[in-house]
Amino acid sequence: MKKKLNVNSLIKVGPLALLCIVTGIINPVFFSSSNLIDLARSISFLLIVSVGVTYVLLGASLDMSIGSVMGLGGAICGLCLVNDWPVWLSIIMGLLAAAVVGIVNAVLIVNCQIPALIATLGTMYVARGIVNVLTKGEPYYPLPDGFKAIGQGTLWSIPYSVFIALFIVIIGHFVIKKTPYGRSLMAVGGNREASRVSGINVKKILFSSHVLVSLLAGFVGIIMAARLSSAQPNAGEGWEMTAVAAVIIGGTSMYGGYGSVIGTILGCALMETISNAMVLLHVSVYWQKITIGVIMVAAVGMDTFRLKKIAAR
């Protein structure tokens, strides 16, 4: 069993490793410590929110509002900061705003039974709208140094956000693999009715996963603002797609019940590495999107092919 697992995850690392090696050979700068640190930072932002997306997808639900929630979390936090609120309180306010959107999503989906895609598309517009009303399109700037340190500070020259992402990944992985909550979430995603009949509180599980993803999205929005020294009104736009893509590339099923946080790390790493490699390999900006698309399909295709082979047994 242990052996089988290792082989599987090795195969998943394949496309990523290949990309790294090819890029590294063509442009050795890829493996320079400063590039790897930059890369790690990019990955960490995407990873934090993708852990939440993994949870939502595992429960066979969906959240399209995370990009807007990132913007909202950053904007509310920024609004508090420019009004000279203490840093810790501003962060809590940002997280609270994100949590509110998460709760609204959860109520719409779990209690009102509105399809997740529609409900979260709705909140996506509303959340972004609130950001625009608040900011009137201008970033909140300047932000205090104490706050900026969260996004810009480093420990052993590694950005804090990398440690934060690692922490969240470990907790996220642990909860799924080791706790009754994680097990229940997998079961709910795998077969909602069977889980309910087995005495699992399906509503509670789905509700919490939606609040969780919003909280994580809001949190990324906040450290993103810290990183950029300003809360940008359009922060996070389009991230919902990137995050969902990363999670699915990481092997989590769109239909729920199957996947892992470890896979999500690989997915996020692949997405960000592609984007980094494109520049280092001097690929023309006009070709980048095609290349990204091809690599994404190839990565998922390899995995699907592998699963099919297993299923054909």
Partner: protein, 505 residues
């Protein structure tokens, strides 16, 4: 001897690691009903998939001849053109299309480029007549009962003008009367010269209607019996590979105190709020007792137990556990009160297909294996292993996903899950549906063992021999109401049917 329509010669098909079929030879004659029996995994379905072209001709060894001509099927379409029609176990029709559209699905082209609906409906009606089905060709399939849908799938098979009809468990979701009607139609088709190949676990049907029975076991054909020489005991022992004295290992165990009492239960009809699907039902069940619940499909049996378990909402009624009135609003509370329910359709709400055997067994008792908020892997393994071994689940190990198991083994895992919750009352809704004889026997054995340990068991069954043989007492529902109660020893199929159809009243 009638002319040979079909000859399958020396068919061998291997999957990685398993030989699913080993040198199988099979013949079928014009105008006969040929039954193929065997336990799950004996190779019946694989053989039929080869015949229907689901497995392409290059994926196995051996030859197929139809009317003496050698044929090779690359896909199902070629098989269909050669005159073979397959009626699947699971209905594979579009529930939201109408009857006529379903009948000619994929073949609408024959009714003109712009489909001439009138012609299509006319043609549909002629096939509906063949299966004696009186429904409108424009009726949406979803609105029809399971038995009517089944007949429509036969009509669809007939519409491709076949010589050979293959029916895989056609009566799995039908009641006794509906099944009877289906077989009457099969007999008529046989008279018209169609060859019917029947695969069924319900041996009483097989014995009643077949002209010939072929027994398969472990990928081989064991024997072939003509109607004149049918011997139930012999055929069963050939199927399971050992001698079986009794299909139903019922034993007398002491019946003790009342453990659960249901009083005045009413459940609203899911489609019509003003109607009740269960009305004013009361009964009680005691330690060590196996209580059978009989009745026709639609009598409200499943709805009754689902409402007891808190899966659906009840309108009124009380539950008493050991004399104490309890309130059950959802399955979580039911489990806590010591009730377990093996649901009717295990694929829908019985198990999580993408999870392992171990995880499925522990799913309803996560609290028991959790310490300090964490699932203890060792504890989980130990707990699951106990049931895995006790119930003899056939799988290489407990990490195997439920999707890959046979129906019987899936049912054992579902049963394991509920046993792990330590229930006082175990409710089984059609516990042996779609399960092979050997595993059925094992499940009966488990039921008896549990009863001996003092568990109260409630079993819903549409298979009358099973219901009568296993129950200490039978409550028969009809139209949502209790039609009567029969002590197990006095029960006969006729008595149960009389109550179920309301003829005794």
């Amino acid at each position: 001897m009638a002319e040979t329509v079909l000859k399958m010669k020396h068919i061998t098909k291997a999957f990685p690691g398993v030989k699913a079929l080993n040198d199988v030879c099979l013949e079928a004659y014009k105008g006969e009903i040929l039954s193929i029996v065997g336990e799950n995994g004996a190779g019946k379905s694989t053989l039929m998939k080869i015949l229907s072209g689901s497995y392409a001709c290059d994926s196995y060894q051996g030859e197929i001849e139809i009317n003496g001509k050698k044929v090779q099927f690359k896909n199902t379409r070629q098989s269909e053109e050669a005159g073979i029609a397959m009626i699947y176990q699971e209905l594979n029709m579009h529930l939201d299309l109408n009857v006529a559209e379903n009948l000619f699905l994929g073949r609408w082209g024959q009714f003109g480029k712009n489909i001439q609906w009138n012609k299509l409906h006319k043609a549909a009606e002629s096939y509906l007549e063949m299966v004696q089905l009186d429904v409108d060709a424009t009726e949406i399939l979803r609105n029809l009962s399971a038995s009517k849908q089944q007949l429509i799938s036969i009509a669809r098979a007939l519409s491709s003008n076949p010589q050979i009809l293959i029916l895989d468990e056609p009566t799995a979701s039908l009641t006794e009367t509906e099944s009877k009607r289906l077989f009457e139609i099969m007999l008529q088709l046989k008279e018209k010269g169609y060859t019917c190949v029947l695969i069924s676990h319900k041996l009483d049907e097989v014995f009643a209607y077949s002209d010939r029975i072929v027994v398969m076991r472990d990928g081989c054909v064991i024997n072939s019996h003509e109607r004149s020489e049918f011997d139930q005991g012999l055929i069963i022992s050939e199927m399971v590979g050992r001698k079986m004295d009794n299909l139903y290992p019922k034993e007398e165990v002491p019946i003790k105190d009342e453990i659960m009492r249901i009083e005045n239960f009413s459940v609203p009809h899911p489609q019509n709020a003003r109607k009740k699907i269960v009305e004013d039902v009361s009964f009680q069940v005691r330690q060590g007792e196996i209580l059978g619940i009989g009745g026709l499909v639609g009598a409200g049996r499943s709805e009754l137990v689902n409402a007891i378990f808190g899966i659906i909402e009840k309108q009124s009624g009380n539950i008493y556990m050991q004399g104490q009135k309890v309130c059950i609003r959802n399955p979580e509370e039911a489990i806590r009160k010591g009730i377990a329910l093996v649901t009717e359709d295990r694929k829908v709400d019985g198990f999580v297909g993408g999870m392992s055997i171990e995880q499925n067994i522990t799913l309803a008792s996560l609290k028991a294996i959790t310490e300090y908020g964490m699932i203890k892997a060792l504890k989980e393994k130990k707990a699951a292993l106990r049931y895995f071994e006790e119930l003899k689940v056939k799988a290489p190990d407990m990490d195997v996903h439920l999707n890959t198991l046979s129906g019987g083994n899936q049912q054992k895992v579902v049963l394991s899950k509920w046993l792990m919750t330590n229930p006082k009352v175990l409710i089984l809704d059609e516990p042996t549906r779609g399960i092979d004889v050997g595993t059925k026997y094992e499940i009966y054995k488990i039921m008896v063992d549990l009863a001996r340990q003092g568990m109260a068991i409630i079993m819903i069954s549409s298979e009358l021999p099973e219901l009568i043989s296993m129950s200490d007492r039978i409550v028969v529902l009809s139209g949502g109401k209790v039609a009567g109660e029969i002590p197990g020893k006095e029960a006969t199929q006729e008595k149960v049917m009389e109550l179920a159809t309301g003829m005794a009243m």
